[in-house]
């Protein structure tokens, strides 16, 4: 490892993108992620890259579409209301199999909601917020260090599979200052984009076309089957998950992102009272770590999903546990964060 710096989460995202070879960023300001844009605005000219403050999130995601189709490593970022506007472009880019990275520093909704941390865009990210049968790889870091590593990873996964990769964080993570240790050199997945990227034919090959429209139903079904096959491959290869303290746990808590950090403290508190609590922390929200939950399905007396929403990931936990144990939910909304005590009380109530 190399340089060690104390940095804000949002800035680390931008720095990681540049280290991963991203030279094009298009975005529209929105709290609590605007530092990403500020960082790019300053740094892109230094590294010969492009920063555009677009006229809207719709324009920004379509600039991403054009740049990704032209073969570049490209990124946009926003927060919930802006991510809603990007859904059109997300669907088109998914249909056209364009690799790009999208960051959502989630804030509480619905509507304009508030600017405080939330995880209420889980469904939108993993179930398909736009139209059509598509998937994005969704990565949920829980520390500034992981924000760095997963941002680099997101670009590699995107290029490897020609898919959109989303980093899903929240305002706590984006605003948090932590030490981050950068590698001297990133491992970059070098994709050969020559068969599809629009860079100009140079009169040396047939034209390349980026499109998501296939009017012929048989052709469109085949295209969809190809997408689905790719998604199955990603489910096989790209699941990331942290399992902590789960062997003979009384209760296994499922939590992602910053909530998982709170849960780790709860585990210590519970241990003092003789209660064994485990944690399964999905790092990829899609592909969801189904097999990990299957493996531990019969270990605890019950599962508890703790989230900053009204109960979204809990549905995937239930599907994975598949009725083998009860799955409970505890959530806070509107930017409220559960206390360690409140989570511990919930665990005790379950065990009663």
């Amino acid at each position: 490892m190399g340089e060690k710096l104390l940095m804000k989460g949002n800035e680390v995202i931008a720095e990681a993108a540049i280290r991963a070879g991203c030279r094009h960023y298009f975005g529209y300001p929105i709290t609590p992620q605007t530092e990403i844009a500020h960082y790019f605005a300053k740094k892109m000219p230094e590294v010969g890259g492009t920063f555009i403050q677009a006229e809207s999130e719709i324009a920004a995601i379509n600039m991403v579409y054009g740049a990704a189709g032209a073969g570049a490593r490209v990124m946009t970022s926003s927060s919930s209301p802006g991510i809603s506007l990007k859904q059109e472009g997300i669907s088109y880019a998914s249909g056209a199999e364009l690799p790009a990275v999208i960051v959502n520093i989630v804030r509480c909704g619905p509507g304009l909601g508030g600017i405080l941390p939330a995880q209420c865009d889980y469904f939108q990210a993993v179930k398909g917020g736009g139209h059509g049968d598509y998937k994005m790889v969704v990565l949920a870091p829980c520390s500034v260090q992981e924000l760095y590593e997963l941002t680099v990873e997101a670009f590699n996964i995107a290029d490897k599979y020609r898919i959109l990769a989303m980093i899903m964080g929240d305002g706590i993570l984006g605003q948090m200052m932590e030490t981050v240790e950068f590698r001297d050199k990133e491992e970059i997945y070098e994709a050969d984009k020559s068969s599809w990227a629009t860079v100009g034919t140079r009169m040396e090959r047939d034209h390349n076309v980026i499109t998501s429209i296939y009017i012929d139903p048989e052709v469109l079904e085949r295209h969809n089957q190809k997408l689905q096959a790719k998604y199955r491959l990603i489910e096989e290869n790209e699941v990331r998950c942290e399992v902590y303290n789960c062997e003979d746990a009384d209760v296994i808590v499922a939590a992602f992102g910053t909530v998982a950090r709170i849960v780790k403290n709860v585990i210590k508190m519970a241990a003092k009272e003789g209660i064994k609590v485990g944690l399964i922390r999905p790092i990829t929200l899609w592909p969801f770590p189904v097999k990990v939950f299957e493996k531990y399905a019969e270990v605890p007396k019950a599962f508890l999903s703790v989230e900053l929403n009204a109960g979204q990931m809990v549905e995937d936990v239930r599907l994975s546990v598949n009725g083998k144990r009860p799955v409970y939910f505890h959530g806070r909304m509107g930017g409220m964060i559960p206390t360690q005590q409140e989570i511990l009380d919930k665990i005790k109530e379950i065990l009663k």
Binding site: A67, V74, R202, H207, N208, S212
Partner: protein, 248 residues
């Protein structure tokens, strides 16, 4: 034997799907001739819209991208910023550019994006069977203005050249028409100049083309051309709005 007429290299040898008498195809040919004459096919990237020409990526030999409805200027911005030495153009209808994509075209022009837009004003939504477009004339009957476009209900036609030429980033803006040979030749000159303006890095360029839609206007191809001349041109005067004297 002397060859007097042949397909431009930039146009692919495939049948086009447009209705008889539709002038979309002529505009495609003009663009292809200009690409040939400028010798830029190998470095040109076109962006197709949503509308009757959604799949004109099949008709051009250069690299192409298909954009969501109205977003072609944003898509082109992304392409051009990645490949500033390439030539990037969008082809957009009036619904695409002047309704759903108004923000994207205004801001691409305001940023002075070095792209060229060929804007087809046929005063109608062709593809979706003849609804009112932002450019539909007053009193014009469409499937969504069955009693004619009334200003008090539907507002007024948008004059895109006039609007965009107020923006400093727009370097070249001209309105041309497809209603006869003389005007078609003029149109080609304007399209060529628009590409040259881009290649000289002068800023955003746009050519608005008054184009026919016999099918949805309910007119024969011949009468449709007359309709452009008699009804459209008085509302949309032809000529250069900006960049006439630009050195390219």
């Amino acid at each position: 034997m002397a060859v007097v007429f042949k397909r431009p290299h930039a146009l692919r040898d495939v049948p086009m799907h447009y209705c008889p008498g539709c002038t979309h195809g002529i505009v495609h040919r003009l663009i292809a001739e200009v690409i040939d004459e400028l010798g830029i096919e190998g470095k040109t990237i076109g962006v197709s819209p949503v509308g009757c020409t959604y799949n004109n990526y099949e008709y051009f030999n250069c690299d192409m991208q298909q954009a969501a409805h109205g977003r072609a200027p944003a898509v082109s911005t992304g392409i051009k910023r990645v490949h500033p030495d390439n030539v990037v153009f969008t082809y957009q209808g009036d619904g695409d550019l002047a309704a759903i994509g108004t923000a994207e075209i205004v801001h691409a022009a305001a940023r002075g994006e070095k792209i060229t837009t060929i804007f087809i004003n046929n005063a109608i939504y062709g593809m979706t069977s003849g609804q009112m477009a932002p450019t539909t004339l007053l009193n014009q009957v469409t499937t969504t203005t069955p009693y004619g476009r009334k200003p008090e209900l539907h507002g007024f036609p948008i004059k895109v050249c006039e609007l965009l030429s107020t923006l400093d980033g727009a370097a070249f803006i001209e309105r041309v028409s497809m209603h006869n040979i003389k005007n078609i030749l003029n149109a080609k000159k304007a399209i060529k100049k628009a590409f040259q303006v881009q290649m000289a890095n002068k800023g955003f360029s746009l050519v608005e083309v008054l184009s026919s839609c016999p099918t949805n206007w309910g007119l024969s191809p011949e009468k449709a051309l007359k309709w452009i001349e008699e009804k459209m041109i008085p509302v949309y005067p032809l000529g250069n709005f900006k960049g006439k004297d630009l050195e390219v």
